[in-house]
Structure formats: structure tokens, C-alpha cells
């Protein structure tokens, strides 16, 4: 399998007559983009598009998803298959990427489970999306009383549509850089790199209902049995996020596309280990599902004869049980594990960080304590609704001060403790 990512580097955004890319600037025809997202009858009449550049005194909240603009220019399938495009598989051919740009979905809250992105100031150090040029879709439901699952879906699709549209409009521009990724099929992989350990990536996806869901080729992942997936399919949009509750450690569609665990495993492939495959698994709410999925996912790893797996969790609390089951069951079959999680150790850092535990989890990397409190000074401009700070997960009554500053736990900041390891934050014991 071979995938080429054709990159254009977006350093600035502006509105203009024709959507396209030139000299580092992505120009957006606002009306055309608005018309596109307004097609959905589930969305209301007062939709808007706004722009935010790194360093701006701008706050965007509540943010639901972040999506990197991409469009397939060669090869079968199209980006975000099964959700936006047809169900054909992806991961081969050429895909255009507007590197440095991101579509954000914001506007009327789906439920108090969405996040905050500051483009400057102390909050900007914590979210990876303060470093991207952001196109914010400000959305509202057609009917405030409509089913929240329907509204969530409408917001999700609007973001994907906008991301695909922006990249599609730049499809004729020659790439500034081409990154080539290759991944062997299982037969080749089994014979390759003799002497190196065969490893996999056990990729846990949260699947617990509204704003906790993830989609694989359009299939709600809570309904799957664990399965194998090429890392190139992930890089080409096979996984889409519907998940933002306690936004610090939920994987946006953007970070799935740019999964840094996959990127680092691809880098070390052939040197330190033989990276055979990703194994996708879910995090459902019932004990039977947790037991079934952890047994099945680790069974796949054993069937492939893997020597080790990196396991990344998504979320906290309830999914800690899935993480521990995956770790324990892999290790009991002789498959070595390293874990990536984050922590909820209380605002003072003095409580246990995880809700479940096993002695086998002896190699654990953490993306930080999400309960730590941060003060976000006022911004000149807010895209969205700042008053939601008083109710979103990580905030409390009084989080929004009169001067516009916000005091919240890091868990309210989108991507702050990414369990795909997309930030440099971590924690240690004093």
C-alpha cells in the first residue's frame, strides 16, 4: 500500500471571491462555503464562518470537532469514506492536504461537553489547535428542541463537508511538498525485517453515545468487533470523530488524520521494530462489551504473532477499565505493552489518576493531569458563546468572570491532554 500526501502549507487565511490557495494564503469564498453547509435542513438559518490565525487575541468555544482539509486527487475512494464520501476503502493514491489549516465546528452547544481553543495567551500553549489557521463554522440547530443526536450529526457532517470543500478547491495547485508512506501487506510484513520484533498499535476509540462516538468508514464503532486497519487508511480519513466530551483528551478528526503514535511508529519501523498493523477497538459502556472487545483485540494481536503493542486510550474513568483489560490480556499472552493515557488526579494532584489499575501496566506515558486549573485571560474576540464556560465539563458556576477571563480545569481545553500524544504535556510525581 502506498499513499502520497501532497501538502500545501497554509500560513494565512482570508475571505475572497474565489476559494483557492496561493503564496501560503488560503482564500475562502464565504458565501459559497455557507451555501454548502446550509444545504442541511437540520441546521438553522443563522450560520456563519469566521477565521482565526495563530497569535490572534481570539477565543473559540464551544468547539466540537477539528478537521484538517483534505481531498483525494488520485486513487480509489474519497476522504472521510462512509461518513461524507462513498464507502470505498482509502489509504492508497494521492491526497491533497492543506497543512496548517483546520476547520472547527462551533456555535450553539450540543451539550455541555465541548471545548475551548485560545489562539494566544497561556491557553494557547495547551491546545495544539492554536497553531493552526482556523476556519470556524458557527452552527445552530434548525429547531432548538430537535434530537441532540441529529444535531450532533449535522454539525459533524458540516465540518467534514467544509474540510473536503476547501481542499477540493485547491486540487489543481501543485504540491509544495510530497510525503510518501508505504505499508506492507501482512504476508510481506511477516517475512520482512527478520530479527526485529513484530509490533502493532492497539488503537482504542471511545464509543459511548452522544458526543462520545467514533466512526470507522461511517460505521458507529460501538457496533464493531475489533478489526485490523492499515495506518495509511487512518491517515486518509477512515476514522472520523464524533467525540468531544471533556475535550482535553478526545481525539478530533484532525488528530486521527495526523495520529502522532502512527507517525512515530512509521518512523521507527524497520529500525527498532517491524510495525505490522493497527488494531482498532472500542470502549463501550457494558462490562460484557469491554470483556469481549479486549479479548478479541488482544486475540488479533496474538493471531498475528505480535511481540508488542502500543495501546492508546481515549477518555478517562470508565475507559480506564478497557485500557487495563487490554493491557492485562495482552501481557498475559506474552505481548509487551506501552500505554498512553492522561490523568484525573484532582485539582491538587493528590488523588489516584486512573479509575482502574493493573501491575502489568509498568510502561505508561501520560499526557498530564486534566484536573489542573488554568486561568485564561480575556480575549479581544470570542467566536461562539463564552457563557458556556460555566457549564462545560471542566468549568463550574462562575468560571466566566465579568472581565471575560475564564478559570477552568485543563479538561475544558480542546486537545490539552491528547491521549494520542499530540502535545508535550506530561506529569510527574513530587
Amino acid at each position: 500500500m502506498r499513499l502520497e500526501l501532497h501538502r500545501l502549507f497554509v500560513k494565512d487565511l482570508k475571505f475572497g471571491d474565489k476559494t483557492g490557495f496561493a503564496n501560503g494564503t488560503l482564500t475562502i469564498n464565504k458565501k459559497e462555503l455557507l451555501n454548502l453547509i446550509s444545504e442541511d435542513p437540520l441546521l438553522g438559518k443563522n450560520l456563519d464562518v469566521d477565521l482565526a490565525i495563530p497569535g490572534d487575541s481570539t477565543r473559540i468555544m464551544p468547539v466540537k470537532d477539528v478537521i484538517e482539509p483534505r481531498w483525494k486527487i488520485e486513487g480509489k475512494g474519497q476522504v472521510f469514506p462512509g461518513t461524507l464520501s462513498d464507502v470505498e476503502t482509502v489509504g492508497e493514491g494521492k491526497t491533497l492536504v492543506l497543512t496548517g489549516a483546520a476547520v472547527l465546528t462551533t456555535g450553539t452547544l450540543v451539550r455541555f461537553q465541548e471545548g475551548i481553543i485560545d489562539m494566544s495567551g497561556p491557553g494557547a500553549d495547551y491546545t495544539p489547535y492554536s497553531k493552526t489557521c482556523n476556519i470556524a463554522l458557527v452552527l445552530e440547530p434548525a429547531d432548538p428542541e430537535m434530537d441532540k443526536h441529529d444535531y450532533e450529526k449535522a454539525c459533524r457532517i458540516a465540518g467534514l463537508k467544509a474540510a473536503a470543500y476547501l481542499a477540493q478547491c485547491c486540487a489543481e495547485v501543485p504540491a509544495e511538498k510530497v510525503d510518501v508512506f508505504e505499508h506492507a501487506n501482512i504476508r510481506e510484513a511477516m517475512g520482512a525485517h527478520p530479527g526485529l520484533p513484530k509490533v502493532g498499535y492497539l488503537y482504542m476509540l471511545q464509543t459511548q453515545g452522544l458526543l462520545h462516538d467514533t466512526y470507522l468508514y461511517g460505521v458507529d464503532v460501538k457496533q464493531i468487533l475489533p478489526t485490523i486497519l492499515s495506518p495509511l487508511e487512518v491517515m486518509d480519513g477512515a476514522i472520523v470523530s464524533g467525540n468531544c466530551v471533556s475535550a482535553c483528551d478526545k481525539n478530533s478528526s484532525y488528530v486521527h488524520l495526523n495520529n502522532p503514535i502512527i507517525a512515530n511508529m512509521m518512523k521507527r519501523h524497520g529500525q527498532d521494530f517491524n510495525f505490522v498493523t493497527c488494531i482498532i477497538t472500542n470502549e463501550n459502556v457494558t462490562l460484557a462489551d469491554k470483556r469481549r472487545s479486549s479479548s478479541y483485540a488482544t486475540k488479533l494481536a496474538a493471531m498475528l504473532g505480535l511481540d508488542g503493542v502500543i495501546i492508546s486510550e481515549e477518555g478517562f474513568g470508565n475507559p480506564d477499565a478497557d485500557l487495563v483489560m487490554n493491557c492485562q490480556k495482552a501481557e498475559k499472552q506474552g505481548i509487551k505493552t506501552a500505554l498512553l493515557t492522561d490523568e484525573y488526579a484532582g485539582q491538587d494532584g493528590a488523588s489516584q489518576s486512573l479509575a482502574d489499575s493493573c501491575v502489568e501496566g509498568d510502561a505508561c506515558v501520560t499526557a498530564g493531569n486534566a484536573n489542573e486549573v488554568i486561568h485564561l485571560p480575556p480575549m479581544e474576540k470570542v467566536i461562539g458563546y463564552p457563557e458556556e464556560a460555566n457549564v462545560i465539563a471542566g468549568g463550574w458556576e462562575g468560571s466566566l468572570a465579568e472581565d471575560g477571563s475564564i478559570t477552568v480545569e485543563l479538561q475544558a481545553i480542546t486537545g490539552a491532554t491528547s491521549e494520542l500524544g499530540y502535545t508535550k504535556l506530561g506529569a510527574y510525581t513530587i
Partner: protein, 348 residues
Amino acid sequence: MAFRVVHYINQFYAGIGGEEKADHQPEIREGVVGPGAAFKGAFKADAEIVATVICGDSYFASNLEEATAKIIDLIKPFKPDAFVAGPAFNAGRYGTACGAICEAVSKQLGIPVVSGMYPENPGVDMFKKSHYIIETPDSAAGMRKAVPAMAALLMKLLKKEPLGKPEEEGYIERGIRKNKFYDKLAAERCVDMFVAKLKGLPFETEYKMPVFDRVLPQPAVKDMKNAVIAIVTSGGIVPKGNPDRIEASSASKYGEYDITGVDDLSSDGYRTAHGGYDATYADEDSDRVIPVDVLRDMEKEGVIKKLHNKFYSTVGNGTAVASSARFGAEIADKLVADGVTAVILTST
């Protein structure tokens, strides 16, 4: 200008006497007394001990609150920038006093504090979460080792220099997690650790798996007919409008809600404040989280004697174990006082 430090020692190190003088009441003397001389040497010109508080170990142990208040009053006029206590080595009552007074000074005066103890000193477990305790040998023979380490840590705190890990600075691990930015992405650190583990090379986990308090379920209720049953939930069910503003995550409180005369939780009256699950179905019918309707039926049918007229609710999402333990203890006291004989705990 040198930082002003106040030092705490017991009657023994002040040269007043041993066990027979352990009821010595708190006093303060200007300047250095006893081991203060060693601190003076360690601080050099950066800090000076402006006063020394002396208190007998027995007096402190038997008059904890009074002694603490008195000592704080004695310290205040000296306007200290920092406070140091001990080292207490393996002396249990002395260690406990050092820990308690350090905790009080830190809380009430808001200045850096350091003590020093042997790891098995009971004062360590009691007070390590509240302040930095330098690890010392078990007896005064280790004074020359303990004092420079205590002085160095106190200077770092005074100068607001970043502190390293316990083994780098010589303090006893407090069990508190602190965030920091590393040079590498967490993903890269994880792949590095994975490779080390695969190759059998040494590596250091970033988080040691926790050890839990396991609470055993109580035996089943034998006499249901005479049971007064209360409902307690971490599923966040609250009257519509969330009157106590319980947080969607990391709850700082719980609510107590009267359900006298309520037979069924309708969507007009109740909601969940919980931000950690798909709340659609709990909002539609909160009986799905706390079964008031079924318990009312059982009450009418005489299966149980009574459903308690109050339920207690908090949000278990991202809420610290320390907060949960406090809520649990308070709620249990109230239930016992109200004559409740059994509780149904629901989570989500």
C-alpha cells in the same frame, strides 16, 4: 537582602531537657538555637534564622490546636519569608509536631516550609501531601546530611526555582502529580519507552499504577420489610435547573433533594448534571438512573418499609477520589442520623 527564616525545634534540641521536659510550653527566642547553627552555615548569606520556636513534644501532642495557634502567633511578628522544622529523624511525636506546624504555617502564612524526617517517622505519612519533607537518616547522627539538603530545598522554594523529582532534590515523594511540558510529544515518549521495553533496556514509567482502597459490599439486607432505603447516585440526577450548580465534571459538591410525595421522576422535573455520558435517556426519564418509581411501588406493596424522603446526588465524572471520599462520609453520617438502614448506590 537575606530571606528571613523561622526555625522550629523541640525541647530536647533546645537543650532544655529530655522526656521530663516534654510538656514545655511554646516559646520563641530571637536568633539561632541548637541545630539552627548548622542551618546558618548552610544558608550562608542567602537567608538567616531570625527566630527559633521551641515546644515540648508532649505539650504539642496533647494540645494540638492550641499549640498550633500559639506558635503561629509567636511566629507572625518576625515576618518570616520561610519556615523550617526539625529535622526530626525517627522521633515520632517530634516528627508529627514538625509536620503539623509546617502544614499550618504553609496554609495560614502562605510561605515556603520544609521539614526533615526518616521515611518511617509517622509524621511522614500524615503530612507528606501538605509539604516537602527531606528524607533523613534515622538518628541525629545524620544531622550533617539532613541540614544542607533541607536548606537547599528551602532556598529553591524561596527563589521560586523549579523543583526536580524527589530523588533529585532529596525529599520524600509526596504523591502529588504535577504537570510539566516535556521536550518531546507524549507519542514520541511512548514509542521510546515501548522500544526500551521491547529491547529489555531500562525505562522509567511516567505513572506508577495506583493501588486502590477496595471497599467490600455489605452483606445483603435480610429484613426488607423493615428496611428504610435511600438512594445515592454519582449519575448526576438533579431537579431541573441544577439548583446547586453541580459541575458536569470534577464535582466539588453533592446535592440533597427532597422527594416527599414524588412517585415518578418526570422530564419536567429532573435532569442529569453529568457531563460524562450520553444523557439523552437519563434526561427523558431520570428513574433510569435512580429508580424512584419502582421503589415507590415496593413501598406501596410493603416489600420495603419506606423510601427515604431525600436522595443524594453528585457527578462521578472526573471527580477526584479525595472529593468522593469526603462526599461519601458526609452523606453516610446524614443517612445514619435519619434512620436509613440500607442504601442503593447507582453510577452511570
